[in-house]
Amino acid sequence: MHRNSGWKRCAGVATLFAALAAAPLAAHSQNVMNILNSLGGGLGSAITGGKPAPAAQGDDLISLLTQSMENIDEAKEIEIGRQLAALLLGAKPAHPDMALQRYVNRLGRWISLQSPRPGLPWTFVVLDDPGYNAFAAPGGYVFVTKGLIDRCADESELAGILAHEITHVTSKHHLQAIRQSAMAGVGTQLLASQIRTSNMAGQLVKDQLLSLFRTVYTKGLSQSDEFEADRSGVAMAAKAGFDPYGLVSVLQQLRTVTPDNPMFTLTMSTHPAAQARLDYLEQSMGRQLDGLGGSRATIAQRLGSGNNAPPAPAARPTPAKKAG
């Protein structure tokens, strides 16, 4: 596919800096939380449009999000993730190419088996969007845009990207980001006065939750989360049998994306600069993975003409370099 030679990666800072800076507000926001809690359960259903949230004994989503991470068990994590997934799929539909969807699910599920949480109900979705982006949501939801897939030179690049997103899930990065936003009162302060006088409280709560969810995708995660996802993602893709340099190759290309390229605006505003990520990966990887080799089949080969998917060309490991 066309590869834009004018790419220039630049960094917006995906951060919850504001949330961190607002930590002293936690006491205030706790009052807001108490008000919200008094409204009772059913917030989950407010978001999902009628389907009752499971096991909501007054622990609606916002109060849940203000609890310690240990109190958010896997079922609740998945329920939160499902609602974020609903938001993303409300922004862009799934791509209609079912063969592509099946392929990405198989590929992603295989990589997830090398992750620390192989038992999650992993769900991979190709969004019908020409832009370049990938997203994750708690509980095992991973999204990539069709434009991203089209720009992957080979499967090892897509594998690196999926492994990066899988790390966001296994390390609960989005869950922590949303929780910190909730704790800091981001998006909830407005509610305090209105909620007492309005019988529209349910709608307001719904709006506030949506605001929390939207913020995590439009502002992105912290830089440290992104660096960790790169480092762990490289290792995970390599464990799954792929050329470990797939993600490095992606970042090499992103480095030259111009900051005003409309296909990349959100990606670039929510991630550290590609060169900073490359520098970090170089420090992490050294040259010790150079001799691993790995599959470098192309996506077109996997999707193959008809259903005949050729086996991956088993890459020749290049002679190992000395570490360092």
């Binding site: 630049c10 799934a94 390599a238």
Partner: protein, 205 residues
Amino acid sequence: MNWQHRGALAVWLAFAAWTAPVVNAQAQESAVIKRATQLRNAPSDTGASVAPLEANSVVTRSNERQGAWTKVSTQQGATGWVHMFDLGPQTGSANASNNSATSGLRGVGGLFGGNSGATTTATSTVGIRGLGAEDIAKAQPNPAAVGQAEGLRVNADQARQFAQSASLHARDVPAMAQPALPSSGTGNRSGGSSGNPSDPNYSPN
């Protein structure tokens, strides 16, 4: 999709891929050599030197890649292989996160502005565009679509079957170093001991 078929065509395709690495002719990007090294005639440290590459010299990068190595051409016309980690940004800026273009977007991203302006990220108004902040800001949840996506889940056995037919094998890889985060890496979360790779006690899950 049936991954089991391995007919003659498939073998031919695989062979073709082996001998003809991915080439996208339109990708010819300039890059800068980060540190003095050698242009090599093969994608390996053992490849013979074609020419010395001085730090900060400009090369043109092709789309040909073999593992860590990418094929480049020098301004003197020599062509060979260089390790991707020996390439830097064209601007010569050692840290692209400090360049002006980056700073422009960073402000929008909220680090300095601290606003919740989800609609301010995207700036271009021409041409087709990708999923942007406005799309998410305007989106209403579509739980039915999630249900449909969940219907396409595969289980672990199906994934292993795919891997087998794709000649993908799980393997051990050397442990990677955990360098300190770049100094510009703000936003380490205070909560969650496992979320901070710069923590000496941190271990990836």
